[in-house]
């Protein structure tokens, strides 16, 4: 399997009469984009805004962050099973709009999460403050269920990202990166002396606002399985997760999965990156046991020497994480787990809701309860109506001057459990 990612650097976004990309500038015809979004009856109103790194802007509540990409060569299209047909993706050529993202923003339920500050102390905690963001603000029609809103907002974001990605179809990339993987037999033959390493990617799957889709399938209805890392780069995994802003994996995180990237970097040098196992985080305990059993079975079947396990969310996923870790370790396969912590505002509480001595190699994305003060911003995209009630916010957290005193968990992507960030804790 071979996928070429052609990176096209986007340095600026401007509204214009014609949507196109020229010399690193993305021009967007707002009417054209919004017309597509409003095709969905559930969306009453929508508009676009632009947020630039360093600008005094606060985007909230953030639902998803998506990187526009387009399939240039090879089977399938972007976001298979949701936007494109379900053909298997992950081979050929894909163009990537680097340095930008589509951010969906808007009310799904009465409580809501996620802040992206483009400047100030909050900006240091979210990777998305470094991107040129095209923000899609959606207003749902009244009278529908949250399930329907969630789907409408999710699909709207993916549609816009697909539309923007299309603009890059015929462009020459600024840089091309090739990701190539041999089949299992060849990979073992190619690197007989390197340790065989896999990646167990845990997906949040618990119900409304907690779901992840793989080729359009709700992942809570799946068994633990395997996927090619390049399929994930082509949008095979899409986030439907609206809670736990700090440690949910947005679609952007999946497209740019840092564990996959760093394992590719080490592949053939210090280790042999054999494959990706995806597993879910269901509510039902027997599901947790079954799914983690299968993670361990697959890791053993693949003759892995070591795995990295990444998590998504807080609380019951700690149980899945520990089960995966423990069962894989018990097969004699070494593990490193990536998680984040809820150690209380004073940092003195037990960080995880589950623990095991076999989890002796832990990477942490930081304590999500640590308090941050976010100064007021000149412009708000979306609304701060929810800030008082978002996770980590509390009564009075939105101060009169527009600043916010809240826990880190309020910031989108701040304690990511794929290891996307440099934040850590001791």
């Amino acid at each position: 399997m071979r996928l070429e990612l052609g990176n096209i650097d986007i340095k600026e976004i401007r509204f214009a009469d014609k949507s196109e990309i020229k010399d690193g500038v993305l021009y967007v015809n707002q009417e054209e984009v919004i017309a597509q979004v409003l095709e969905d009856d559930l969306i009453r109103d929508a508009h676009l805004e632009i947020a630039v790194p360093g600008e005094s802007v606060r985007i909230t509540p953030v639902k998803d962050v998506i990187q526009p990409r387009v399939k240039v060569e090879g089977p399938g299209g972007m976001f298979p099973g949701v936007i494109s047909k379900v053909d298997t993706v992950g081979t050929g050529k894909t163009n990537v709009l680097r340095g930008m993202a589509v951010v969906t923003c808007g009310r799904i339920v009465g409580f809501q999460e996620g802040i992206i500050d483009m400047t100030g102390p909050g900006a240091e905690y979210t990777p998305f403050s470094e991107l040129n963001n095209l923000v899609l603000v959606v207003e749902p029609e009244d009278g529908w269920k949250p399930h329907d809103y969630e789907r409408a907002a999710r699909v709207a974001g993916l549609k816009v990202a697909t539309y923007i990605g299309e603009l890059a179809r015929d462009l020459t990339p600024d840089e091309t990166v090739v990701y190539e993987r041999a089949n299992l037999r060849e990979s073992f033959e190619n690197y007989p002396d390197l340790p065989r390493v896999g990646y167990v990617l845990m997906l949040q799957t618990q119900g409304l606002l907690h779901d992840t889709y793989v080729y359009g399938v709700d992942a809570k209805q799946t068994l633990t399985t395997m996927i090619s890392p390049t399929e994930i780069m082509d949008g095979a995994i899409v986030s439907g997760n609206c809670v736990s802003a700090c440690d949910k994996n947005t679609t952007y995180h999946h497209q740019n999965n840092p564990v996959i990237e760093d394992l590719f970097k080490a592949h053939g040098k210090t280790l042999n990156f054999v494959g990706v196992i995806i597993t879910n985080e269901n509510v039902y305990l027997a599901d947790k046991m079954r799914s983690s059993d299968w993670s361990a079975k697959l890791a053993e079947y693949l003759s892995l020497d070591g795995v990295i396990i990444s998590q998504e969310g807080f609380g019951n996923p700690d149980t899945d994480l520990i089960m995966n870790c423990k069962k894989i370790e018990e097969k004699g396969i070494k593990t490193v787990i990536i998680t984040d912590e809820y150690a209380g505002q004073d940092g003195k509480s037990q960080s995880l809701a589950d623990a095991d001595p076999l989890a002796d190699a832990v990477i942490t994305g930081g304590n999500a309860n640590e308090v941050v003060i976010l100064p007021p911003m000149e412009r708000i995209i979306g609304t701060t109506d929810f800030v008082d009630k978002i996770a980590g916010g509390h009564d009075g957290s939105l101060r009169e001057d527009g600043s916010i005193e809240a826990e880190l968990q309020i910031i989108t992507g701040s304690t990511n459990e794929m290891g996307f960030n440099k934040l850590s804790a001791r």
């Binding site: 970097k265 990295i308 001595p357 304590n367």
Partner: protein, 349 residues
């Protein structure tokens, strides 16, 4: 700008009074820097001055816990310091405990920034790392050059009320307070490196140590108490009056084995506690409160239990290193097994 006034605490060895033979010397105060104070003063630079050094013998401090602490504290207080620094004590156990005790007392009683330093395995570290900042040092005095700048920097930060970073940044021993900071590499890259190390059998440090899992699987219940010999073992420090083996009031280095032959009830005349970590009044008045000999004798007479073992085992749990406690337990268990004891009631305080 006014210089911060610093008082430094060291033991008799680092004051070059002498080694173990001079460990009994009582507290004294000298003007200015002494011994390792030179390195600390150099690290403090122009911002602070070590105005006095308080010196105390390790044995004196250990054997006169409350008294020595009060005396040392008084000497420190008399200098009206803005900052207190103790040690570093490296791997010297009693020195570490003394440095930790004093640092903790200064922080509590005088309310000024107080910092010490020692090796992670120093018993003082385990006792005080969650209470005061302890800069992590090597296990030998050669580490003073590395430790002094860290101790000085942290003390100055505290004095100036500046935010204190995570343990890894500042160099203090992890204190069970989780603190965020930015690493140089992102988490995924750290994960790959950690996995490579783990696969190669090389050392690595987990970023979040799992909580202590030193759990013991309970044995199945005793089927028939009336057929069994039960022994009493305590870490509550109950000893025959006069503490014949001089079990230390803290950081015990030994346990005692004493006969219960002829005792139906422990009294203030026969037994007392050697423990320095709790108010001894009630234990001294009636040691059965910690070591329930009276009740077990009753049970013995009533036939509820087969027999009370005629010896009891005792030590002081106060600040005693886990490794020492494990060692005591192994030896005690051996002796109990040899005498066919079937069950043990283990009391603590």
């Amino acid at each position: 700008m006014k210089k911060f006034r610093v008082v430094h605490y060291i033991n008799q060895f680092f004051a070059q009074i002498g080694g173990e033979d001079m460990a009994h010397v009582p507290p004294e105060k000298r003007e200015g820097v002494v011994g390792p104070g030179i390195a600390i003063q150099a690290a403090l630079g122009d911002e602070a001055e070590i105005v006095a050094t308080v010196i105390c013998g390790d044995s004196y401090f250990g054997e006169n816990m409350g008294k020595a602490e009060a005396e040392v504290l008084e000497l420190i207080k008399s200098e009206n310091p803005d900052i207190f620094i103790a040690g570093p004590a490296f791997n010297a156990g009693r020195y570490g405990v003394a440095a930790g005790t004093i640092t903790s007392a200064v922080k509590r009683e005088l309310g000024i920034p107080a910092v010490t330093g020692m090796y992670v395995e120093n018993p003082g570290a385990e006792m005080y790392k969650d209470d005061v900042y302890i800069i992590s040092t090597t296990n030998s005095a050669a580490g003073v050059r590395a430790a002094a700048p860290l101790m000085a920097k942290l003390a100055l930060k505290l004095a100036k009320d500046e935010p204190i970073g995570a343990s890894k940044e500042e160099g203090y021993l992890p204190n069970n307070v989780r603190k965020n900071f930015f690493e140089e590499k992102r988490g995924s890259a750290r994960a790959v490196e950690m996995l490579e190390a783990k696969l190669a059998g090389k050392p690595y440090t987990t970023e979040y140590p799992m909580p202590d899992f030193d759990r013991v699987e309970p044995n199945p219940p005793v089927a028939d108490l009336s057929q069994i010999t039960i022994a009493l073992v305590t870490s509550g420090g109950i000893v025959p009056k006069g503490n014949p083996d001089h079990i230390e009031s803290s950081s015990a280095s030994k346990f005692g084995e004493y006969s219960l032959d002829g005792f139906d009830d422990l009294t203030a005349e026969t037994h007392e506690t050697a423990h320095g970590g709790y108010d001894p009044v009630y234990a001294n008045a009636d040691a059965d409160r910690v070591l329930p000999v009276d009740v077990l004798r009753e049970y013995e007479k009533a036939g509820k239990i087969g027999k009370l073992h005629d010896k009891f085992y005792t030590t002081v749990g106060n600040g005693t290193a886990v490794a020492s406690a494990k060692g005591f337990a192994e030896e005690i268990a051996k002796r109990l097994l040899a005498e066919k004891v079937g069950a043990v009631i283990l009391t603590s305080t």
